[in-house]
Amino acid sequence: MTKKITYGGAYVPEMLWDTLRKLTAEFEGAKKDANFQNEFQNLLRNFSGRPTPLIFAERATKDLGGAKVYLKNEGANHTGAHKITHCLGQGLLARRLGKRMLIAETGAGQHGVATATVAAKLGLECVVFMGSEDIRRQRPNVFLMERLGTKVVPVEYGSKTLKDAVNEALKFWMEHLDEAHYCIGSVLGPAPYPEMNRYFQSVIGREIRSELMERENKLPDAVVACVGGGSNAMGSFYDFIADASVKLIGVEAGGIGKKIGEHSSRKIAGELGIFQGYKSLFLQTEEGQIAPTHSISAGLDYPGVGPELADLYTNGRVELTYATDAEAVSAVDYFAKLEGVISALESAHALAEVRKIAPKMSRDSIVVATLSGRGDKDLFNFARAFKDESFRDFLKDEYNRYE
């Protein structure tokens, strides 16, 4: 008999015990508190701009020749990605808890910008930790965070990417427990974070359902989302878990190969482990050292996956697959030309999967892909990936204008 695995948990030093207990209690209370709900809904609607549109990708549908393709445009949110939703939720909780500071980790910089934005909006201080490798890849977001009044702290050791930023944020938090709330950026970390962020993000799935009902009067056959830690995926999937006819597909970063260090896919090589406060699937060595990861998209370049998602994957409800760096870049181009949407490199992994599966599905079926973010932040990465000569000249020019 195999033992049932309990994913998640709260594997943290005792000094966090009381803080997590208070956060859990505040979260449980807020769920039932009409004032909190009103405030949260008001910010989602009148600050972030929800509901986000569900785009019928008509030309892509025709070109792919199979399922009708819809894109849930989370990139239309204020700050350009789904991340702002859980930041608003957590920011309100932090204020209720009497905290005066938000801290966050960031990979792509999207969660950092969203946290910085919410901190400014709610009148809180903000410190964001970011791996120096990611700072290099996503410099424009650093600039934005600083404009928003946030202090961005580079993390110079480890792999200098997202996991190291989480480590540093956790450490800073342990030194500032009384004044700071750690606004974790995905459905991971110790309880209650995975459930809490999923609770806030589940608005994505509910909107997909109601928007599609209104337009097509039926459920989707498949919902596809990219998976870094899993917040946009869990947010998109959660409302459909009980609808067995809806396939739920998470797309991880396949990077440049299948060897350790060349990708960030837990499907390819994830093993059960306990890290950063939770039990889940992690890319790691035989001995349990956390392994290096790679992805062209900083937001998917992380060794672990949210525990609820790992659970849904192991029990078969969610399918995991992956798209390579090259497939992601190509998907950005494809949907830009055909649909007028420039996707973030993270979300483009989901779009790449749509290009693979839509042609194989019948014409009366529907696939919804979550476009977790828009591509503005990747401008420099795109320009380089497409070897854009004139953009290079522009950068030189721009540099000279500074002198």
Partner: protein, 254 residues
């Protein structure tokens, strides 16, 4: 009898626990570091098996762990080192992060360190009341290894009382909230907190985090039964040599 039990039977307070990382600066030199710590007067050696992402450690130990792993400090080699360190005659407490024993197999790991000579185990990211915490407790009880709780000022009494029902050996108390590192700002409430710990746990109390001078040791020794230093030695190793650890330790506790 557990070596720590013997130590505590003879000497109630004024003890010093010195921390080191397996593989820092190299696997071979780690043995010299251990010897220097013993010669320098350490009563207990805390041997950290390096983990890639040590959540409760500051930059000094995090970077040293990373370098140790890069230099080939595998779990197998760290355990071989443990055997040598234990032979030096001082009680050894193994410290690591949960994913290491979890991957090794918790019961297998505890049995192995017990056989190899460890008297205690410290896993700062594993609360006793998790599935793995329970497994650790059971395995430790069976092999007479003490599983050491790590607490900090600010942990409420109610929680301390829960932990006390399962604690054995000694209590590891951090001098403040936060992480390890060579910065001695002890929490204002530390003195009262340690008194509370003594009442609740009825075990020797070890205090560490940020100990870097003779004055720090003297100050903490007033309240603690065991004073711990770690990052301090990493700094010594990096700026001079493993051999100079002996002298530095002597100057710390003389």
């Amino acid at each position: 009898m557990n070596n720590l039990e013997k130590l505590f039977a003879g000497k109630k307070g004024g003890l010093f626990m010195a921390h080191m990382i397996a593989g820092c600066p190299t696997m071979e030199e780690s043995e010299k570091v251990a010897e220097a710590l013993v010669k320098g007067g350490a009563d207990i050696i805390e041997l950290q098996i390096p983990f890639s992402d040590p959540m409760a450690d500051g930059p000094a130990i995090a970077v040293a762990s990373e370098e140790a792993i890069k230099g080939g400090a595998t779990v197998a080699k760290s355990l071989a080192l443990l055997e040598k360190v234990a032979r030096l005659g001082k009680p050894v407490a193994v410290m690591t992060y949960l994913n290491i024993p979890f991957r090794y197999g918790i019961s297998k790991f505890v049995t192995k360190i017990a056989k190899t000579g460890a008297s205690a185990l410290i896993v700062p990211d594993c609360p006793f009341d998790t599935e793995e915490g329970r497994e650790l407790l059971t395995a430790c009880k069976e092999t007479q290894v003490y599983l050491i709780p790590v607490v900090s000022p600010g942990v409420p009494k109610e929680r301390l009382e829960q932990l006390a029902t399962d604690a054995s050996g000694f209590v590891y108390c951090t001098s403040r909230q936060g992480i390890t590192g060579a910065n001695s700002k002890f929490a204002k409430e530390l003195v009262d907190f340690v008194k509370e710990l003594k009442e609740i746990f009825k075990l020797p109390i070890a205090v560490g985090f940020g100990v870097k001078s003779k004055e720090d040791v003297a100050e903490l020794a007033k309240v603690a039964d065991i004073v711990i230093a770690g990052s301090f030695f990493i700094h010594v190793i990096k700026t001079s040599s493993p051999g100079s650890v002996e002298k530095s330790l002597k100057s710390l506790i003389s």
